[in-house]
């Protein structure tokens, strides 16, 4: 018997100003697995997860979370369903007007109705899980480095024990050591705790570290999918060009 995917894109299409970005995208993630979507700039990686998160409506197709179509859900049903989801945004997307612990505890206080004192304790616990001390809790996001902001964003994503995690370019803009540290934290939170994860990145080192599987998005479709270890051995010309960092042939630079 085949296992029902935790998350599935079925025939998803999306156009911007008439130009197709996703063209009948079919992709699924089994429960407890970490899938990394790679692809060039402007290939629709962010659009793919924004559609899954209900932040963008698709022109056609379905997105199934635990078998339930999330496209066109009402605000209340959406809020209930997405209580199982945690997201780490590319820039952290921390709320400037709130302190670090208030950022981390945001869902607990504002959506789950947890009292502020208990929420603060859980936020500090989550901060410790991403190797940030309690002294950081009272700081403002603007007082943190980029790497620390990513850690706070990760703490905010995991504090409510979500079943599925999304990571949008988790290591972009970080130095290699901080990036590796973020990757290790993601692996720890995803693989060791058996959560499902979907990440998008064009950092191949990060993709190899955090992914069980890697899928390559090109021209709105998945052109290759395989185990993270197969990334360097595949004959797929798109992947080979991407891995070799060549700006010619099949994929042309969007820059």
């Amino acid at each position: 018997m085949t296992q029902m995917p935790k998350l599935e894109w079925k025939g998803v299409r999306k156009r911007f100003n008439g130009a197709p970005v996703l063209d009948s995208l079919d992709l699924s993630v089994p429960p407890g697995r970490s899938l990394v979507i790679i692809g060039g700039s402007g290939e629709g990686k962010s659009v793919t997860i924004k559609i899954a998160l209900g932040l963008l409506p698709p022109d056609a197709g379905q997105v199934l979370l635990d078998g339930q179509d999330v496209v066109g859900l009402g605000e209340r049903a959406r809020r209930r369903l997405f209580s199982r989801v945690g997201v780490l945004f590319q820039g952290g997307a921390l709320f400037d007007s709130l302190t670090v612990w208030e950022n981390v505890a945001f869902r607990l206080i504002n959506a789950d109705g947890v009292p502020r004192k208990a929420a603060k304790a859980r936020a500090i616990e989550a901060l410790e899980r991403v190797r940030l001390g309690a002294q950081v809790a009272a700081l403002w996001p603007s007082e943190l480095s980029g790497g620390m902001q990513k850690r706070v964003g990760l703490a905010r994503a995991i504090v409510a024990n979500p079943q599925i995690l999304f990571f949008d370019e988790p290591t972009t803009g970080l130095d290699p050591i901080t990036a590796a540290a973020i990757d290790d934290l993601i692996v720890e939170q995803v693989k060791q705790l058996g959560r499902t994860a979907v990440s998008i990145t064009h950092d191949l080192s990060s993709a190899r570290r955090i992914g069980d599987e890697i899928a390559m998005l090109h021209d709105g479709k998945i052109v290759w999918r395989g185990a993270a270890g197969d990334l360097d051995h595949t004959d797929n010309p798109y992947v080979r060009q991407f891995v070799a960092r060549r700006a010619d042939k099949i994929i042309t630079s969007a820059a």
């Binding site: 605000e75 809020r79 997201v87 504002n110 959506a111």
Partner: protein, 268 residues
Amino acid sequence: MTQASLATPAALNLVRLLGRLAIGAIRPVGALALFALRGVSALFSPPWFPRQLLRQVSSIGFFSLPVVGLTAAFTGAALALNIYSGGGRFNAEQVMPQIVALGITRELGPVLAALMLAGRVSAAIAAEIGAMRTTEQIDALRTLSTDPFRYLIAPRLAAAVMTLPLLTVVADTIGVAGGWLIGVRLLHFNPTAYIRSTADFLQPWDVGSGLIKSAVFGFIVALMGCHHGYNASGGAHGVGRAATQAVVSSAILIFAADYLLTTLFSHP
């Protein structure tokens, strides 16, 4: 090809152009109306965020007191001088206190307080929400199971509608006091007589109509800030544009609403 078949595409193009222009003009109005409807409906359905409301009351109301007070004081003083010198042309200097009070409470208090708020608050709201939009903070709110309309928009609308009338009361009081100061110090009015004639002359409706106006203006100021900020795009440039649009559209709508409400109140 016949002449009729040549004319048809030209006529169709004209109709198409007119249709496009009409839709282009109507679409922003429709989008604003839908935005306002979502914001108002978020006010009346849970969850509510009282902490956010308190923050906005403090930010919109309390911190606008100095600028509103100063504006009202200088306007009241200038109005007193103008009415006194103008009234002198037909020996009507003595009605200066009443005209100042009427002008301040019915018109200048609400409008000037609203314009000050448009400059200070509408731009700040647009810039803050616009920056949240461009840095994915609004997306983050949604993924944290929080409706941005309930968390961001509704508290700002409610705070502006509640606080602008209070600011207008302050502006009315300080504006009349400014007139009194000029009347007593420069124009040699009797201090007690000035106050008594003002109090005897003013009707509750003079103040009440100004407060109703200011509640409407408060809604406009917050709505324009929220709407332009929420729909900002294009990074820092987009945020700057949103702030400018918020101030300009607030000011225009305040004057338009002022005229409409004054017309309505003048013909009960």
